[in-house]
Amino acid sequence: MSQPIELPRWIDIGVLPLVNLGMALIVAGIVVAGIGLDPLQVITLLVKGAFGSRAGIGYTLYYATTFIFTGLAVAMAFHGGLFNIGGEGQALIGGLGASLAALAFAQRLPTALMLPLMVLAAAAFGAAWAAVPAALQAWRGSHVVITTIMFNFIASALLGYLVVNVLKEPGNMTPESRSFEPSAHMPGMHEALGWLGLAWPKTPLNLSLLLALAAAVGVGLLLWKTRAGYELRTVGFSPDAAHYAGVRPRRQVMVAMMLSGALAGCVAINELAGVQHRLLMDFVAGAGFTGIAVSLIGRNHPLGIVLASLLFGALYQGGAELAFEIPGFSREMVATLQGLIVLFSGAMATVAAPTLARLYARARRPVAPKPAGVAHG
């Protein structure tokens, strides 16, 4: 009954997530049909919008870049046994760091120095913002889930204050900082490909994508190839074994959360250095929460996260395109789907497991009439 169900590995990491994703899509499809749209048409247009043109692909990858950062952030903390809901706030404060660096130095420094400095600042500020809940969890036992939520609100208030009262240009009515000098702009993919002689339409997609992919590789290497990652995962799986192995759990809590915060902070590079070129108040726009869904679907593995980010990037881009194309379709449909994915792939991840186990068992039985058909079902 409530005994853990043993499924073959390929079902566990291959089929089950797809089944869960499928259930979320089905429910979303019902909603789409319920508001009078044709789910098939929506899906077709969505895929076309996301992958049908180079511009569409550019946007998809641009959104995916942000989600890779936040997804990795969630996964990093998760491997240390922590649930970081504070990606949103850490990204905001990372944006503050990157912007301060840009506003202070971009006039004087060349791009080659400016961009690394912004990355460092974004990561450092994000890490610092995550360090406080981490320290409170490690030394005072306050639960990181609750404190990171609180820190999201505090971050947004802090940024609001700074942007409105300190960073806003006197003449400007919009709460945003002045524009960064060109040396603080992350080159767009169209420019970069242009240098190589390749044509690419102008989209928000910028070289941050490479940074995100590098971060994914880096996270993978760190977790599975370095001692630090080994110790982190040990704490995440079994604090007792970690203690036995001479690992200090408190230190690992700090390390995991700060790395997580640093990754979230890098969202600012894609959004601010790459696209907006100034500090806005709401540039994260829920990406921190999307990161949770991305990480859940990606099974907390960098490769999975990159793929899941692509999925979400496509949903966002396709959704935006749909909002243009179909009256009555709003981007919130994508937000809804995102919530449903978290529900089915996260909270109800094992609901389908017994059924799958039964189907699998039936399929394996030699007397079963059509074993293969069931196994793939």
């Binding site: 511009a55 009515m173 919009t174 709460p175 806005l280 909002a323 243009f324």
Partner: protein, 302 residues
């Protein structure tokens, strides 16, 4: 085909954006052609939305609201062949039409009406986001109120400092209730969707309220004294019809701003009140009354 990009608050804010929407709809009806539109849900979308419109070949692209100023400036440079229009902000690119209003003049008129309708001599102002543009409304309103009744007291509040202030009816209602408790009995809300809360509070408290941007008299018939209409609809309509780059400033004279009188508020506006206000309107147009412009020197001097 033209494209309209609405600001935060959305095209059904019953106020500023909705006026733009009405203008676009009018164009659609008269021309029989379709137009594209998009509602901004967060800051980061502005540029994407505008570029997407431009990529689709929309022309002209009409951006509603000062917050889109910097985006229009950036994007219009990249698409020199397209024409753009921006409401409430000035962008000095050759392919951009900037349309701004003399809100102070319309506010002056509704300020007068507020002071004339007030029994307590105390009138209120609820602004949206605390920016010079809204201060310009406030300043004109104050001046008008004092013009009609030199002893009038004006209580003013701003809802916030971020764009969230445009769409927070709860706060609007709270601010209105606070002002009513101080004896204010007419409130002018220049706060986008936040105003809905103010009007509801006025209705609940049996006080008067003044709408903004669109004619909002129908929202709470019987307690809406009037509305300071800003003809964003006209601006959008004419921008869609034909774009003429440069800056146009629309005041009372140009019919860009006015106060609203219709079946919903005719009982509230007495003949005497109407006479006085119309006289002032003529004087402003004639230049006999100078209405202070807060944005000219960032101060309310009258």
């Amino acid at each position: 085909e033209p494209a309209v990009i609405y600001d935060m608050g959305g095209k059904f804010d019953k106020s500023f954006n909705e006026a733009a929407y009405n203008g676009a709809e009018r164009w659609k009806k008269e021309s029989g052609k379709a137009y594209l539109d998009f509602e901004i849900a967060n800051e980061a979308q502005r540029e994407q939305a505008m570029r997407r419109m431009a990529d689709k070949g929309a022309n002209p692209i009409i951006a509603i609201g000062f917050s889109q100023g910097s985006t229009v400036e950036k994007v219009s440079k990249d698409y020199p062949k397209l024409s753009f229009a921006i409401i409430d902000s000035v962008v000095k690119n050759p392919n951009v039409e900037s349309i701004v209003f003399k809100e102070q003049e319309g506010s002056f008129l509704v300020g007068m009406m507020a002071a004339l309708a007030s029994k307590s001599g105390k009138v209120g102002f609820v602004g949206g986001m605390d920016i010079p543009l809204i201060r310009r409304f406030q300043c004109g309103y104050e001046q008008g109120a004092k013009f009609a009744n030199p002893k009038a007291e004006v209580t003013s509040n701003m809802t916030g400092t971020t764009p969230a202030a445009w769409n927070d009816p709860t706060r609007g209602a709270e601010l209105a209730k606070a002002q009513f408790a101080k004896g204010v009995d007419v409130i002018f809300a220049a706060a986008g969707g936040t105003g809905i809360g103010v009007y509801q509070a006025a209705k609940d408290g049996g006080k008067l309220a003044i709408g903004v941007d669109s004619n909002q008299n129908h929202l709470q018939p019987g307690t809406m004294l009037t509305s300071m209409v800003k003809r964003v609809d006209v601006a959008v309509y004419s921008a869609a019809k034909k774009s003429n780059p440069g800056v146009s400033v629309l005041g009372l004279k140009e019919g860009g701003v006015d106060y609203a009188l219709d079946k919903h508020n005719e009982k509230l506006v007495s003949a005497d009140m109407k006479k006085k206000v119309d006289a002032a309107k003529a004087d402003i147009i004639a230049g006999k009354i100078k209405v202070a412009d807060y944005m000219a020197d960032n101060a309310c001097k009258y």
